[in-house]
Amino acid sequence: MKGVNAISSSLDPPRALGARPRFDEVAAEQLDAVYRYLVYLTGDRAAAEDLAAETFEKAFRMWRRFDPRRSAPRTWLCRIARTVAIDWFRAEARRKRREETYSRDLGEAVDAAFGDGLSAPLESALRELSPAEREVVALRVLLELDGPSAARVLGISQTACSTRLSRALRRLEEMIGDVRE
């Protein structure tokens, strides 16, 4: 089933813990994964692009602190990306309060944000999910992080992570089923 993923070659699973890779290698390997995670989290490709760049800039500054024995580079980068995205959400919330019209335009302006080749019902269903639900889908399904790693990125327990994923997938199934019916 993993072979179904069309971009699995660029989203290789995390390398073995312990070996310290070079930052440029990690950046080249994990860029697509981080970008995809941010697209799912924000629902906005342009914002995801900016946040991905910011994530890698921050990761470069913090690279000395990265301990490969504690986590895989992908997990570590996703945690940084999440922090960057949360800051962005806060800034966006402030901005939306100031400019209410912008917030209305934002949802309609972005088309096919979650990937090329995604079915229209699935695209619209993903848009209906909350960012928290989309990000757990991204981490577990697209980035193929295991349960403990995804829970670590999200800052929740493994059980809560599993529950959130099940709920998100169930909601997606329901929404797709409604569209098809």
Partner: protein, 170 residues
């Protein structure tokens, strides 16, 4: 959605790993996962170029290896040096203040004795030890003697000469 459609967490993990579905609900879930995974979403080339341009050259590990000890060393050495400096200042202050009293008490006598040795060759040649001078007599011996045996007023000996006498015990 019926109770039979509920997929347990173990089965969910198995489906995520790519195991074959066992029921209709699992088939739908697997199809959903496939649908999510088939979408292509790559980082734009502009972003790739931007990120890789900011990535360090291969020589970076050497820099980090040099940086880490120096920073740690500074964190250890600077407080240690400050603590040592404070300790040394305290010790010096305590020792210096204690020694200072002794020096104040004895140094005038010694200085006078040396001065006498310079003026009186006999004392210097005798090589006698210079006793410590009583303070009372050093200050003003001729004023305290009220029996008139002391030197007359107006004929007070010079300070230097008096000090020499008292220092030599006479």
């Amino acid at each position: 959605m019926s109770a039979s459609d509920v997929i347990g967490s173990e089965r969910m993990e198995a489906l995520l790993r790519g195991d074959a579905p066992r029921s209709g609900a699992e088939e739908r879930r697997a199809a959903l996962l496939d649908g999510l995974r088939t979408a292509q979403l790559r980082a734009p080339e502009a972003l790739r170029a931007r990120v890789l341009a900011a990535a360090p050259a291969p020589a970076a590990p050497r820099v980090t290896l040099l940086r880490r000890p120096s920073r740690r060393l500074a964190l250890v050495v600077v407080p240690l040096a400050a603590a040592l400096a404070v300790g040394a200042a305290l010790v010096h202050g305590l020792v210096g203040s204690g020694g200072g009293r002794t020096a104040i008490g004895t140094s005038p006598a010694i200085i006078r004795a040396i001065a006498c040795a310079g003026t009186s060759g006999r004392q210097a040649n005798a090589g006698r030890a210079v006793p410590r001078a009583p303070r009372r007599e050093i200050r003003a011996p001729w004023r305290r003697r009220r029996d008139g045996a002391g030197p007359q007023r107006g004929a007070a000996p010079s300070r230097r000469r008096t000090a020499c006498r008292t220092a030599s015990g006479r």
